[in-house]
Symmetry: C2
Subunit: 693 residues, 2 copies
């Protein structure tokens, strides 16, 4: 790779030159792509004066509605922060597994052998021959296979009347979009510049990176969890680990590698993971004769040893958990926390003598998961059971906690707890002597597995945060409070300054002592206003202001991050009131999210109401027959019924159909003879459907 980068520099003109120059533009477009497909960006390299209309690009690349790419495309494909920084040399950053389409201006090719020097930007100058033949069409770097020379001066085939109507609509939409620009008017440079309501994905990326939760990484689909997010994960670990240890689960660590022979033992199970398995085939410079997989989950890693360890009913129950990372090399568009190629999670794998014990644990764990969401993250969830179609492959049944993202109106799976029945114990021969005696056949054990991943952090962030930045619920935030001294100006005497600082530091010390995660910002080089914005951006739950007036009146002013609600807290109530305020803040976040979820979880019993309700960003609770084909029909029909209106803010799934999210444990009463929402069969329960992540 290094040698190619060097050669790009070598292709360029390093000295000053007197030759005439022509500016060349390099534009990156992203076409509309169904959610299930990886987007293929389009790079247009053209003379600056050449007009490159979107419809021509669309027809030349056989793609739909290409638009100028957002920063996330530049980040994920070219590893460059934004479009402004992009130049053609970044094409070399394209990951080997990515595709691209390259359109080269015919006019550029025509002039490639002239005297003209092509200017890519202020710094990069290159001859046409080097640009076109040495770089873009050079078959040693492989770009030539993506490239196509296009005559941008030609007319696009005149569209049919239908297409014209569509184009008009598009234009109107664009106008509307331009008016309601996603840019936040008075956003400061350091702050969030994208409106959550108008560009949800852009906003999400900004709050994560500017809030210093996460950074994008060199290997596509992998992200860096910075201390602000890892601290949240640690709080979740602490909470959940204590819960499971209390019921007798022990932690262990199994290797991250699985031999292919073992991995492929449970067919149903592995079928779901096979396309996403990462394979190690080399160590140092030697090829391994047999490739070794990185675990996508550890059923097949652990169960051969369960079989070895478990001999007698006295070895049961066996309850192990591990906190580790797993790898699923997904080719779908990655999204921080929600879909990443490596992610942190816990996976519990438990074995019982009886089905009853196992089933009761499945529900107990699900309650713990609901607790993580509701008690820690202030995120309301609906508990339920997955349908046969959506359950864990190879298991008996799957229970789930389901959340809801208001901006996209989509449901999101929060965590799952599976009852595996005896499927795996039969495959891996996990048996104990029959309690009736050795003359009776051995008994296959009953198993569960359950997992919760760092996805929770993404869900929490999407739900609570706002245009000022992150809002982190106080029970998981790295810091719960920041103390900021106020009222120090150029006129403040050194004595006054010291007095304010010392009062503030005393507050910090007292609260630290009482167990509040607090810090103070005593840097006089920044204004309080600047600090307010900083810590709002980072989502610190409360700020405690300490100014001359506060000192005088023996109190502090406390401001909540989520809604700027102010409290005045007398100094002698500090240790009592601050924890209360943090709890109130938690409750306030939870109520707001709950209200929104409740409002957008609508009960519908006629199919004609289904898609319109869906398009209003609702999830739907509907009577359903429980038949898998009907579920597939619902998905397809609700996808198709999207009549061209852009109902999704997230353009990765403009016409996604509704999946079943779960069969809620809390069931409305079915009317006698109630029909399924979609087909003519009788309904067997109410099922929650929705577009989803």
């Amino acid at each position: 790779m290094a040698s190619i980068v060097d050669s790009f520099k070598q292709l360029c003109i390093s000295q000053d030159t007197d030759s005439p120059t022509a500016e060349v533009k390099s534009l990156v477009f992203k076409p509309k792509t169904p959610k299930s497909a990886t987007p293929v960006p389009i790079l247009v390299v053209a003379l600056a004066e050449t007009k490159t209309p979107a419809n021509l690009i669309a027809s030349e690349t056989n793609s739909k509605d290409p638009r100028l790419a957002r920063d996330d495309v530049f980040k994920s494909f070219f590893n460059v922060d934004n479009g402004k920084l992009f130049n053609l040399s970044h094409l070399l950053n394209l990951s080997a597994s990515s595709e691209i389409q390259i359109l080269i201006d015919q006019e550029l090719v025509n002039r490639k052998d002239s005297d003209l020097v092509f200017k890519l930007n202020d710094e990069i100058k290159i001859t046409g021959a080097n640009l076109v033949d040495g770089f873009l069409l050079n078959d040693s770097n492989g770009f030539h296979k993506f490239a196509k020379i296009v005559d941008f001066s030609k007319e696009v085939e005149s569209p049919s009347p239908q297409e014209t109507a569509e184009a008009k609509k598009q234009q109107q939409k664009k106008k509307k979009e331009a008016a309601a620009t996603a840019k936040i008017e008075d956003a400061k440079l350091i702050g969030i510049t994208v409106d959550k309501a108008l560009d949800f994905p852009g906003w999400y990326q900004q709050i994560l990176t500017k809030g210093e939760m996460l950074d994008y990484y060199d290997v596509s689909g992998c992200y860096i969890l910075r201390p602000a997010s890892y601290a949240i994960w640690e709080k979740i670990q602490e909470y959940f680990d204590a819960k499971i240890k209390k019921i007798g689960v022990k932690n262990a660590y199994f290797p991250m590698f699985v031999s292919s022979r073992v991995l492929e033992k449970e067919k149903d199970h592995i079928e779901g993971f096979a396309p996403e398995v990462a394979w190690v085939t080399k160590a140092g410079s030697s090829d391994l004769e047999e490739p070794i997989a990185i675990r996508p989950t550890s059923e097949t890693v652990m169960y051969p040893y369960y079989s070895k360890w478990i001999k007698s009913h006295r070895d049961l129950p066996l309850k192990l958990n591990q906190w580790n990372s797993v790898v699923r090399w997904e080719f779908k568009h990655p999204q921080p926390f929600l879909r990443t190629r490596e992610f942190l999670w816990q996976e519990g794998h438990t074995v019982f003598l009886t089905k009853e014990e196992a089933e009761s644990e499945v529900l107990q764990i699900l309650d713990f998961y609901a607790g993580v969401y509701e008690e820690l993250l202030a995120v309301p969830v609906v508990k339920g059971k997955k349908t046969e179609k959506e359950k864990f492959a190879g298991g008996e049944f799957t229970t789930t906690v389901e959340g809801y993202i208001p901006q996209t109106g989509r449901g999101i799976q929060g965590a799952t707890s599976h009852h595996l029945g005896q499927n795996f114990s039969k495959m891996f021969n996990i048996t104990v002597e029959n309690p009736l005696g050795t003359e009776h056949p051995k008994v296959f054990a009953h198993q569960n597995s359950w997992g919760l991943s760092t996805r929770v952090i993404g869900v929490m962030t999407m739900i609570h945060s706002d245009n000022k930045g992150l809002v982190i619920p106080p029970r998981v935030s790295q810091y719960q409070a920041v103390v900021i001294p106020l009222g120090i100006t150029s006129k403040t005497s050194e004595e006054q300054r010291k007095a304010i600082h010392e009062s503030a530091k005393k507050v910090e010390a007292r609260l630290l002592e009482s167990g509040i995660r607090i810090f103070g910002d005593y840097n006089d080089n920044y204004t309080p206003g600047w600090k307010f914005s900083q810590y709002e951006l980072k989502g610190v739950p409360i700020r405690i202001e300490m100014g001359p007036k506060d000192i005088e009146q023996n109190h502090v002013t406390v401001v909540r991050r989520n809604d700027s609600k102010k409290y005045t807290v007398p100094l002698d109530e500090l240790e009592k009131r601050i924890p209360e305020i943090l709890d109130e803040l938690h409750d306030s976040l939870y109520s707001k999210a709950k209200e929104s979820f409740d409002e957008h979880r609508v009960q519908v019993s006629e199919w004609k109401e289904f898609v319109p309700a869906l398009n209003k960003k609702n999830v739907i609770v509907a009577p359903w027959c429980g038949v898998m084909e009907c579920e597939e029909d619902i998905k397809e029909s609700s996808g198709k019924q999207d009549d061209g209106e852009e109902i999704e803010v997230d353009d990765k799934s403009p016409s996604m159909g509704a999946k079943s999210l779960c069969i809620p444990f809390e069931q409305p009463e079915l009317k006698p003879g109630q029909k399924c929402i979609k087909c003519d069969r009788e309904a067997v329960n109410f099922t929650m459907f929705g577009r989803s992540y």
Copy 2:
């Protein structure tokens, strides 16, 4: 793989047969191998009556001193627990990266096409053709390339007089060995059957697996950390994590993958790791165009982002740590905890404005590491600095805590804390504005990195455990105490039984309440004696006995695991005394280990005393010149000087030379004009040398 295993079964004779049979033996030998090389086992397949003398095997395989392999060889090469369980089908378990030599009895080949049925064991019968042509010499399974047909009836070339002397010596030694058999006389089946003093590696493997600390895994060089060992790791994490958080270190998580381009950025650094890097080249069924490495350590993963995040001196110090696993695909003989292909560790990576701050942190962290060993694991260590030859590649200097394993007389590196200087900051451009102003050049940051791995568990185990099983120091053990009711016999009335159980349970409950990690074993199906052995095997620090006499006298009897010391503790002093006894136990373990280390750390100033002292299982503190060539000379000379006597119990390194372990911080005073232990140069310090892991 599966298909080959099936085909071995298919090769065999499944029905009863009347044909004459001949027994075939399959013996595995292991030759003497220098430590740096991977041992290549020798499989001899011969008629039972054929004599297969070791010297013939040696000359046919061009190897030195082949001996019947121990269980560890069967485990690591054939994934079978011991030699008794081994049969030829296990040859298929041989990892693809392993080599083997196969010697086939000429006599067996002569008779392969006869009517004889060859009997491998009671169950496996096979025709000669299938055994020789279908399996051992079949080129589709690849064994043919390792195989050689040998006429065992031929005389070995008559040895030279020297060789005869050597052979005699060997024979004498073997006799001695046979007498002092490593088997423990009265070992029960469930307990340890190998003597720590006589077969240290065999003993180590047994206490780990029978003590349920660890299990061997399907992928060579990887091991399963079972709850008993993972709990120790959790205690270490808790301790160390609190220490580093107190000095402002924050936890984060960086991806496990590194692109080759980034990995190879720091040349000196990567040179040390390159041969051990595992490469992912495939995902699902698609080849990645560019292979991606799994981190062997995270310098190159993290520092590009440090460069991005650090802009101003206000961003410093930056102190991040992660608890993760790393992969180093070593081809040396793996050993549980000490040398494994994946291992858990923490890696801290910190950045400072000044060299002074960085250097002071290096030592602070080293103190924490010494604390892990001494305060938690009761293992004494020597703190010091590594020589230039042994320091971390790419860094400025390395500090270390060094331990000592009495049975092998070898030193062991405990944990290292590196000062990287500006080497990495220059490579990765980690700079801040010059505090003197922007007109001055940017300042490169000063960096450290430091790591402690699960190796600590292996060191602790080797040092404290004994022929009864594990001895786990109380501050890290999963359980600190077990309560066992005594005096229940067939004559005990139900009332008495209940009274004893209830008294014991009360003790358990009280101590649990007071924070002791305790459990009780109230299963009346096992005798107290059986239970004693069980929990001694598992290393529970103390057992608390509660029998009728104890109840009567209002006390409990407490027995220490390490030395069976007994205490009588009045019931009303329980909460006070038990923690004290645990502390005393810790101190007792530490003192014993310290005494042994102190005794075997000898100061030597003449070269002629060096090797003899080394051969008495000592590490050596000697005046040294500090010159790298001299260090290499010491290693080579101390290796050679091993005059054939087997000074190592661990036969993996029979004639290993002495490496420098560290330059201890605590230095004896150098005499004026003191010469180096090895060469004519003047000594610059005392350095600790030893054979090592």
